[in-house]
């Protein structure tokens, strides 16, 4: 079932090392939609795991992601607040994006950010600028 994620919740985007800048924050390329992405950006819904904190939930996301994707130790998980993302893109890019649950087999936290154009840096820049170094989490313990 595809449902909107609450504005108070958070999503994490895996950023490969090639898309992390030297200052430790993600490049716009980490959030750019590709044509092959079915017009949505794959993320993970943190509150799906009902942990006590973001760190707790990140541990669950990591273990779930590991089953589907090779996580590089120098890659990072960028955490975004859903409500802030929607509001920032509405103001900066004049777009109403959506953040929806999209669970898959053995990947129940899978979610999608959609509603913005593919191969376009504009929205990707807004998303990347919302993420500070403190919002980047290790992919390994």
């Amino acid at each position: 079932m595809i449902v909107d994620i609450d504005d108070a919740d958070h999503v994490a985007r895996y950023c490969s090392p090639r898309k992390i800048k030297e200052d430790g924050t993600p490049a716009p390329g980490a959030f750019r939609l590709r044509d092959c992405d079915n017009c949505c950006l794959s993320v993970n819904w943190l509150e799906c795991f009902r942990g006590q904190s973001i760190v707790d939930n990140i541990l669950h996301v990591r273990s779930e992601l590991c089953q589907h994707h090779e996580l590089r130790k120098n890659g990072r998980l960028a955490v975004l607040n859903v409500g802030k993302v929607k509001r920032a893109i509405k103001i900066t890019n004049k777009l109403d994006i959506n953040v929806k649950r999209s669970p898959r087999n053995n990947h129940r936290s899978h979610a999608c950010i959609g509603g913005y154009p593919t191969n376009n840096n504009e929205v990707a820049m807004t998303l990347s600028e919302m993420v500070g170094v403190d919002d980047m989490y290790n992919t390994t313990s």
């Binding site: 490969s16 090392p17 992390i20 030297e22 490049a27 590089r72």
Partner: protein
Amino acid sequence: MNNVLTSTQTEPDESFGRRADSSVETIRFGELQASLKQDMPTPPFRPVTLINPQTPDMLGLRDQVPARDNRTTAHFTYTMDTHNIPLTGRLEYLQSVMAYKQQFLDANTIAVMGDTEVIDALEGHGLVAIANRLKYLYGITEEDEEDVKLNSLRGFAVFVIKNRNVHTPQITITDDGLIQAVWKHPQQGTLVMDFHESGDIAFTLLYGRWDQETERYKLIGELPQDQAILHVKDFIYNSIRT
């Protein structure tokens, strides 16, 4: 001799270790300085033979040494002042500069280089931080990401050599293997450039400090390098790395 340096007229490689003698032609320092300011690469510095150990002070050149606001000339100043290089050494150094400039400022030369050669050329040009960053990025392979596109790397190399006085960007690779350069200024905004295989640059400039509540002015385009730089020149030459 106050503002004149001398140079032998031999080929650069033959001139190393050769002493300045009567078969010389003069190069006015002002001309040299002007030359240094034009897209000058940082040359490889070669050891010199201490034949004529005179300092810039002794030659009356200290006042002629260019200001330190230019990376290339600052390097030149540093070399002259700190290493106390003798006259002969300076002549060889200058010839090395000229040879290096001729070798690498030509985009056509880069256009036939392989990726390792391009990165080595950047390193040889003094763009060591950029070269090291590219080596790091080349060492990463991701299953769902394309390899770095050679023509994108070539285009980026030409850009940073031509515009070597701009602040070093933060460099990443996109999913489709393009070099992506980011310049960020805490107040003025952020510029992103994707170096396409065609040689064009797709650029997006968001003016102003990011916050969630403020709309920002945008400049977006995809143009050949020489035209793209005209649109973002003011930003790129004043931005600082964060």
